[in-house]
Amino acid sequence: MDISAPADDSRDVALAAAGDRHAFERLYKSHVNRVFSLCTRMSGSRIRGEELTQDVFVRSWEKLPQFRGDAAFSTWIHRIAVNMVLSDRKNQSRSSKRLVDDDTESVEEPVARAYAPQYGDRMDIAAAIEMLPKGARQIFVLHDVEGYKHEEIAEMCGITSGGSKAQLHRARLLLREALTR
């Protein structure tokens, strides 16, 4: 996973690590859309995406003094965002009993069965992603949208590389069904 930095953040990163909130605000402005997009697409909710985005920036402020600059700041904060969303998912799974386990749904079960738009509606890919089951959605976003490799996803999600590939394939087929309906 390599996210090209839109600008040289190093000065603001150094200032923010030393406690400069104005520098951190500049970093926020540079990266908020990417972080928000990731959080929203992985969580499937704009409201939850906004909450998670705040959590990500607060966490990154707290951890910034430990940031060694081995990777770009954008890559670093992105990784924090992914971990927070995945952790959020685990917490939610623990706190609420799910009627359907995302990961046991079959590939053949159409995403649009539960979330179907009216006949004749044409969904765009962003809307279709939101409607994917959570597990498939997160793998799809991480791999096809964010560019993570299966090995990286497997490590972050605590699954096997093969499991990541299978979920991705499933997600693509569900998206196709939703988009071509």
Binding site: R21, K29, R46, A126
Partner: protein, 257 residues
């Protein structure tokens, strides 16, 4: 020519590896050949490839509101609770003391420059200051502390014009001295406790005392030039009180474990 052409079921079984680029050239060619003649599998491969392309180019989202104010409110500096008896808050307090002392020094310096008008008169006043009994800034501080407990600059100054006039060019008379004895006593206590304290803590205390003494000297020098200045008298008294506070804290520090 392959005598067993690929079926839809066969294609389905290898599609995952096909999209991941994991098939060897021969197997990939078989899938392509099947897809070229099979409407179902051909459209499936085209659609999935289209989804992959669209996913890469998907637009960034923007929050519906500015999230910064809430983030900013959550990243305010933490407040360290007072009265927690472990080492870290004690050290934090010393850093606060160092910052306060640095502020005092800079304030006194600016005040002195402002009241003296230029740098050269300040330099010129130094010998007169020493002649009047003030300690020589060039003399090394005693080992137990940065300042000499026996010297009168630790006297607090009255704001009354009559008394203030007596501070001009001379050290305060005994009636001006309110904290001198206290400071002397505290210096003795801190000196005796020096061996019981953490060396790093002792160094911080001494550094802070040096800063405070420098501020005292500068405030006194400024008072020599403008003995009626209530502001300068307040500044000097404030610095002396800070010194007492620092010495009291140092005297009560727990012994190193």
């Amino acid at each position: 020519m392959n005598e067993n052409p690929m079926t839809c079921a066969g294609a389905d079984a290898v599609l995952l590896d096909y999209f991941e680029g994991m098939l060897d050239a021969r197997a990939r060619a078989e899938v392509d050949m099947h897809a070229a003649t099979c409407l179902r599998c051909g459209s499936l491969i085209r659609d999935v490839n289209g989804i992959r392309v669209n996913a890469i180019a998907i637009a960034e989202l923007t929050p519906s509101r500015n999230l910064w104010p809430e983030i900013e409110s959550r990243i305010q500096p933490r407040v360290v609770p007072i009265g927690v008896a472990h080492r870290a808050p004690v050290m934090a307090r010393w850093w606060m003391a160092a910052a306060a002392a640095a502020l005092i020094v800079s304030t006194a310096g600016v005040t002195y420059l402002a009241t003296s008008g230029s740098l050269s008169p300040r330099v010129a006043s130094a010998p007169a200051q020493r002649a009047a009994g003030a300690p020589d800034p060039g003399v090394a501080a005693p080992a137990a502390g940065a300042s000499d407990p026996g010297v009168a600059p630790d006297a607090i100054v009255s704001r009354s014009p009559a008394l203030a006039s007596r501070t001009a060019g001379t050290m305060p008379v005994p009636s001006d001295v309110q904290l001198g004895d206290e400071i002397t006593r505290l210096h003795v206590v801190v000196s005796e406790r020096r061996a019981q304290l953490d060396p790093a803590t002792v160094k911080i205390v001494e550094d802070n005392l040096r800063l405070i003494d420098a501020a005292v000297k500068q405030a006194r020098a400024a008072l020599v030039r403008d003995p009626a200045s209530g502001f300068l008298i307040d500044q000097l008294n404030s610095v002396l009180e800070k010194k007492v506070e620092l010495l009291r804290t140092a005297a009560m520090l727990p012994s190193r474990s």
